[in-house]
Protein backbone atom coordinates (compact mmCIF):
# COMPACT_ATOMS: atom_id res chain seq x y z
CA UNK A 1 0.00 0.00 0.00
CA UNK A 2 1.46 3.34 -1.02
CA UNK A 3 2.04 5.87 1.76
CA UNK A 4 1.28 8.74 -0.67
CA UNK A 5 -2.06 7.15 -1.50
CA UNK A 6 -2.94 6.89 2.17
CA UNK A 7 -2.07 10.54 2.76
CA UNK A 8 -4.08 11.61 -0.27
CA UNK A 9 -7.14 9.75 0.98
CA UNK A 10 -6.62 11.11 4.50
CA UNK A 11 -6.13 14.73 3.40
CA UNK A 12 -9.36 14.84 1.48
CA UNK A 13 -11.57 13.04 3.96
CA UNK A 14 -10.18 14.35 7.26
CA UNK A 15 -12.12 17.65 7.22
CA UNK A 16 -15.29 15.75 6.46
CA UNK A 17 -14.81 13.38 9.43
CA UNK A 18 -14.11 16.37 11.67
CA UNK A 19 -17.26 18.13 10.50
CA UNK A 20 -19.27 14.96 11.01
CA UNK A 21 -17.88 14.54 14.53
CA UNK A 22 -18.94 18.08 15.30
CA UNK A 23 -22.38 17.52 13.77
CA UNK A 24 -22.95 14.42 15.91
CA UNK A 25 -22.04 15.34 19.48
CA UNK A 26 -22.13 12.88 22.39
CA UNK A 27 -25.61 12.05 23.65
CA UNK A 28 -26.83 13.15 27.06
CA UNK A 29 -28.63 10.20 28.70
CA UNK A 30 -32.21 10.63 29.88
CA UNK A 31 -33.23 10.42 33.54
CA UNK A 32 -34.58 6.90 32.93
CA UNK A 33 -31.29 5.52 31.67
CA UNK A 34 -29.84 4.29 34.96
CA UNK A 35 -33.10 2.95 36.52
CA UNK A 36 -33.93 1.08 33.32
CA UNK A 37 -30.41 -0.33 33.11
CA UNK A 38 -30.64 -1.70 36.67
CA UNK A 39 -34.10 -3.12 35.92
CA UNK A 40 -32.60 -4.99 32.98
CA UNK A 41 -29.68 -6.20 35.11
CA UNK A 42 -32.08 -7.44 37.81
CA UNK A 43 -34.35 -9.11 35.24
CA UNK A 44 -31.36 -10.91 33.73
CA UNK A 45 -30.14 -11.91 37.20
CA UNK A 46 -33.59 -13.38 37.95
CA UNK A 47 -33.59 -15.23 34.64
CA UNK A 48 -30.10 -16.60 35.30
CA UNK A 49 -31.06 -17.68 38.84
CA UNK A 50 -34.26 -19.40 37.69
CA UNK A 51 -32.44 -21.17 34.87
CA UNK A 52 -29.85 -22.39 37.41
CA UNK A 53 -32.64 -23.56 39.71
CA UNK A 54 -34.32 -25.33 36.79
CA UNK A 55 -31.04 -26.98 35.84
CA UNK A 56 -30.46 -28.13 39.43
CA UNK A 57 -34.01 -29.46 39.67
CA UNK A 58 -33.52 -31.39 36.42
CA UNK A 59 -30.19 -32.79 37.63
CA UNK A 60 -31.78 -33.95 40.89
CA UNK A 61 -34.74 -35.59 39.12
CA UNK A 62 -32.42 -37.44 36.73
CA UNK A 63 -30.14 -38.49 39.61
CA UNK A 64 -33.09 -39.76 41.66
CA UNK A 65 -34.56 -41.77 38.77
CA UNK A 66 -31.11 -43.22 37.96
CA UNK A 67 -30.55 -44.19 41.59
CA UNK A 68 -33.99 -45.83 41.76
CA UNK A 69 -33.27 -47.85 38.60
CA UNK A 70 -29.83 -48.92 39.86
CA UNK A 71 -31.18 -49.90 43.27
CA UNK A 72 -33.99 -51.81 41.60
CA UNK A 73 -31.56 -53.61 39.31
CA UNK A 74 -29.38 -54.63 42.27
CA UNK A 75 -31.99 -55.43 44.90
CA UNK A 76 -34.81 -57.13 42.95
CA UNK A 77 -32.69 -60.12 41.71
CA UNK A 78 -31.26 -60.52 45.20
CA UNK A 79 -34.75 -60.85 46.72
CA UNK A 80 -35.83 -63.21 43.99
CA UNK A 81 -32.88 -65.65 44.42
CA UNK A 82 -33.08 -65.93 48.28
CA UNK A 83 -35.79 -68.32 49.54
CA UNK A 84 -38.26 -66.70 51.89
CA UNK A 85 -37.46 -67.14 55.60
CA UNK A 86 -40.77 -68.79 56.39
CA UNK A 87 -42.24 -71.29 53.98
CA UNK A 88 -44.86 -72.79 56.36
CA UNK A 89 -47.87 -71.02 57.70
CA UNK A 90 -48.34 -70.26 61.40
CA UNK A 91 -50.81 -73.12 61.82
CA UNK A 92 -48.39 -75.59 60.22
CA UNK A 93 -45.63 -74.52 62.58
CA UNK A 94 -47.89 -74.90 65.59
CA UNK A 95 -49.02 -78.36 64.46
CA UNK A 96 -45.44 -79.47 63.94
CA UNK A 97 -44.42 -78.21 67.36
CA UNK A 98 -47.42 -79.88 68.95
CA UNK A 99 -46.69 -83.27 67.39
CA UNK A 100 -43.10 -83.01 68.59
CA UNK A 101 -44.30 -82.34 72.12
CA UNK A 102 -46.64 -85.34 71.95
CA UNK A 103 -43.83 -87.69 71.07
CA UNK A 104 -41.82 -86.46 74.05
CA UNK A 105 -44.60 -86.59 76.65
CA UNK A 106 -46.16 -89.88 75.62
CA UNK A 107 -43.92 -92.89 75.71
CA UNK A 108 -44.38 -95.38 72.90
CA UNK A 109 -47.32 -97.74 73.31
CA UNK A 110 -49.19 -95.47 75.72
CA UNK A 111 -52.27 -93.72 74.73
CA UNK A 112 -54.26 -91.04 76.44
Amino acid sequence: MDRMDQDRVGDKLDPLWAEYREACPDVEPSAHFMPQLWQRIEAQRGAVASSWFRLWAEVWVVATVTLAIVMGAILIPRFQSNPPAYLASYVDVLAAADSANDSVMLPSGETE
Binding site: Q6, G10, L13, L16, A23, C24, P25, D26, F33
Partner: protein, 187 residues
Protein backbone atom coordinates in the same frame (compact mmCIF):
# COMPACT_ATOMS: atom_id res chain seq x y z
CA UNK B 1 -9.15 6.53 30.91
CA UNK B 2 -12.09 8.35 32.45
CA UNK B 3 -11.84 6.42 35.72
CA UNK B 4 -9.30 4.85 38.07
CA UNK B 5 -8.29 1.22 37.56
CA UNK B 6 -9.25 0.64 41.20
CA UNK B 7 -12.89 1.42 40.43
CA UNK B 8 -12.91 -1.13 37.60
CA UNK B 9 -11.38 -3.71 39.93
CA UNK B 10 -14.09 -3.02 42.49
CA UNK B 11 -16.82 -3.33 39.86
CA UNK B 12 -15.18 -6.53 38.63
CA UNK B 13 -15.32 -8.00 42.12
CA UNK B 14 -19.09 -7.45 42.23
CA UNK B 15 -19.41 -3.99 43.80
CA UNK B 16 -22.63 -2.61 42.26
CA UNK B 17 -21.90 0.90 43.52
CA UNK B 18 -18.58 0.91 41.68
CA UNK B 19 -20.27 -0.42 38.54
CA UNK B 20 -22.79 2.41 38.77
CA UNK B 21 -19.94 4.93 38.80
CA UNK B 22 -18.28 3.25 35.82
CA UNK B 23 -21.52 3.51 33.83
CA UNK B 24 -21.99 7.14 34.81
CA UNK B 25 -18.46 7.98 33.67
CA UNK B 26 -18.78 6.31 30.26
CA UNK B 27 -22.47 6.48 29.34
CA UNK B 28 -22.33 9.84 27.52
CA UNK B 29 -19.38 8.81 25.38
CA UNK B 30 -20.79 5.38 24.64
CA UNK B 31 -24.24 6.76 23.78
CA UNK B 32 -22.55 9.23 21.40
CA UNK B 33 -20.63 6.44 19.70
CA UNK B 34 -23.79 4.34 19.39
CA UNK B 35 -25.73 7.30 17.97
CA UNK B 36 -23.09 7.75 15.28
CA UNK B 37 -22.95 4.03 14.54
CA UNK B 38 -26.65 3.24 14.33
CA UNK B 39 -28.01 6.64 13.30
CA UNK B 40 -31.36 6.23 15.08
CA UNK B 41 -31.67 8.54 18.09
CA UNK B 42 -34.77 6.80 19.44
CA UNK B 43 -32.91 3.48 19.87
CA UNK B 44 -29.63 4.84 21.23
CA UNK B 45 -30.49 4.40 24.93
CA UNK B 46 -31.79 0.88 24.37
CA UNK B 47 -28.57 -0.20 22.64
CA UNK B 48 -26.55 1.69 25.27
CA UNK B 49 -28.27 -0.23 28.06
CA UNK B 50 -27.56 -3.45 26.19
CA UNK B 51 -23.85 -2.52 26.12
CA UNK B 52 -23.71 -1.88 29.88
CA UNK B 53 -25.81 -4.96 30.58
CA UNK B 54 -23.29 -7.07 28.64
CA UNK B 55 -20.50 -5.27 30.48
CA UNK B 56 -22.05 -6.12 33.85
CA UNK B 57 -22.23 -9.82 33.04
CA UNK B 58 -18.82 -10.03 31.35
CA UNK B 59 -16.66 -7.93 33.69
CA UNK B 60 -15.37 -11.07 35.39
CA UNK B 61 -13.86 -12.13 32.05
CA UNK B 62 -11.84 -8.92 31.77
CA UNK B 63 -8.14 -9.83 31.92
CA UNK B 64 -6.92 -6.55 33.42
CA UNK B 65 -8.33 -3.13 34.21
CA UNK B 66 -5.89 -1.64 31.65
CA UNK B 67 -7.80 -3.17 28.75
CA UNK B 68 -11.15 -1.94 30.02
CA UNK B 69 -11.73 0.71 27.32
CA UNK B 70 -11.03 -1.54 24.32
CA UNK B 71 -13.26 -4.12 26.02
CA UNK B 72 -16.07 -1.59 26.40
CA UNK B 73 -15.67 -0.47 22.78
CA UNK B 74 -15.73 -4.07 21.65
CA UNK B 75 -19.05 -4.56 23.46
CA UNK B 76 -20.31 -1.31 21.91
CA UNK B 77 -19.34 -2.33 18.38
CA UNK B 78 -20.90 -5.76 18.86
CA UNK B 79 -24.15 -4.35 20.25
CA UNK B 80 -24.37 -1.79 17.43
CA UNK B 81 -23.63 -4.47 14.87
CA UNK B 82 -26.29 -6.79 16.36
CA UNK B 83 -28.78 -3.92 16.29
CA UNK B 84 -28.00 -3.10 12.65
CA UNK B 85 -28.40 -6.75 11.66
CA UNK B 86 -31.79 -6.90 13.43
CA UNK B 87 -32.83 -3.74 11.62
CA UNK B 88 -31.70 -5.17 8.29
CA UNK B 89 -33.84 -8.23 8.93
CA UNK B 90 -36.83 -5.99 9.54
CA UNK B 91 -36.22 -4.40 6.14
CA UNK B 92 -36.21 -0.96 7.56
CA UNK B 93 -34.54 1.79 5.63
CA UNK B 94 -32.25 3.40 8.15
CA UNK B 95 -31.22 6.31 6.00
CA UNK B 96 -34.68 7.39 4.95
CA UNK B 97 -35.94 7.27 8.54
CA UNK B 98 -32.94 9.16 9.75
CA UNK B 99 -33.25 11.84 7.12
CA UNK B 100 -36.91 12.29 7.89
CA UNK B 101 -36.23 12.63 11.57
CA UNK B 102 -33.33 14.98 11.10
CA UNK B 103 -35.36 17.13 8.76
CA UNK B 104 -38.07 17.22 11.43
CA UNK B 105 -35.47 18.20 14.02
CA UNK B 106 -34.19 20.90 11.74
CA UNK B 107 -37.71 22.17 11.11
CA UNK B 108 -38.43 22.24 14.79
CA UNK B 109 -35.39 24.30 15.70
CA UNK B 110 -36.34 27.89 16.03
CA UNK B 111 -34.44 30.98 14.93
CA UNK B 112 -32.78 31.73 11.60
CA UNK B 113 -29.11 31.22 12.48
CA UNK B 114 -29.78 28.22 14.66
CA UNK B 115 -31.92 26.71 11.94
CA UNK B 116 -29.25 27.30 9.32
CA UNK B 117 -26.64 25.69 11.56
CA UNK B 118 -28.88 22.69 12.23
CA UNK B 119 -29.56 22.32 8.51
CA UNK B 120 -25.82 22.40 7.79
CA UNK B 121 -25.23 19.71 10.42
CA UNK B 122 -28.08 17.64 8.99
CA UNK B 123 -26.52 17.93 5.54
CA UNK B 124 -23.12 16.81 6.84
CA UNK B 125 -24.68 13.85 8.65
CA UNK B 126 -26.66 12.82 5.58
CA UNK B 127 -23.64 13.18 3.33
CA UNK B 128 -21.39 11.07 5.56
CA UNK B 129 -24.10 8.43 5.99
CA UNK B 130 -24.59 8.29 2.22
CA UNK B 131 -20.84 7.97 1.64
CA UNK B 132 -20.59 5.23 4.22
CA UNK B 133 -23.30 3.28 2.43
CA UNK B 134 -20.69 2.57 -0.24
CA UNK B 135 -18.88 0.22 2.13
CA UNK B 136 -20.01 -2.86 4.03
CA UNK B 137 -21.58 -2.61 7.50
CA UNK B 138 -18.38 -3.98 9.06
CA UNK B 139 -16.14 -1.49 7.24
CA UNK B 140 -18.51 1.35 8.01
CA UNK B 141 -18.22 0.62 11.74
CA UNK B 142 -14.43 0.23 11.43
CA UNK B 143 -14.10 3.57 9.61
CA UNK B 144 -16.30 5.30 12.18
CA UNK B 145 -14.26 3.93 15.07
CA UNK B 146 -11.01 5.08 13.44
CA UNK B 147 -11.94 8.39 11.85
CA UNK B 148 -14.78 9.68 13.98
CA UNK B 149 -14.21 8.10 17.38
CA UNK B 150 -10.47 8.63 16.94
CA UNK B 151 -9.30 5.21 18.13
CA UNK B 152 -5.72 4.25 17.36
CA UNK B 153 -4.75 1.20 15.33
CA UNK B 154 -3.46 -0.40 18.54
CA UNK B 155 -6.85 0.08 20.18
CA UNK B 156 -8.64 -1.24 17.10
CA UNK B 157 -6.35 -4.24 17.15
CA UNK B 158 -7.49 -5.00 20.70
CA UNK B 159 -11.13 -4.49 19.79
CA UNK B 160 -11.17 -6.51 16.59
CA UNK B 161 -8.53 -9.09 17.59
CA UNK B 162 -7.01 -8.67 14.12
CA UNK B 163 -3.39 -7.72 13.41
CA UNK B 164 -2.50 -4.13 12.57
CA UNK B 165 -1.55 -4.79 8.94
CA UNK B 166 -4.85 -6.46 8.17
CA UNK B 167 -6.65 -3.51 9.73
CA UNK B 168 -4.57 -1.03 7.72
CA UNK B 169 -5.41 -2.77 4.45
CA UNK B 170 -9.09 -2.93 5.32
CA UNK B 171 -9.18 0.71 6.36
CA UNK B 172 -7.30 1.81 3.25
CA UNK B 173 -9.72 0.02 0.94
CA UNK B 174 -12.74 1.37 2.78
CA UNK B 175 -11.34 4.92 2.71
CA UNK B 176 -10.62 4.65 -1.01
CA UNK B 177 -14.16 3.53 -1.72
CA UNK B 178 -15.55 6.42 0.30
CA UNK B 179 -13.19 8.89 -1.37
CA UNK B 180 -14.17 7.63 -4.80
CA UNK B 181 -17.83 8.24 -4.02
CA UNK B 182 -16.99 11.63 -2.49
CA UNK B 183 -15.05 12.77 -5.56
CA UNK B 184 -17.66 11.43 -7.93
CA UNK B 185 -20.24 13.44 -6.04
CA UNK B 186 -22.40 10.39 -5.52
CA UNK B 187 -24.12 11.97 -2.54
Amino acid sequence: MLIEFELIEKARSGDDGAFNLVVKAYRKRILGTIARLIGRPEDVEDVGQEVFLRLYYSLDQLRAAEVFEPWLYRLTVNAAYDYLRRQKRRHESRMSDLSEQQVMMADASAGGKKQTEELRRTKVREMVHSLLEKVSEEDRILLMMKEVEGLSLKELEQIYKVNENALKVRLFRARQRVLKAFEAGEV
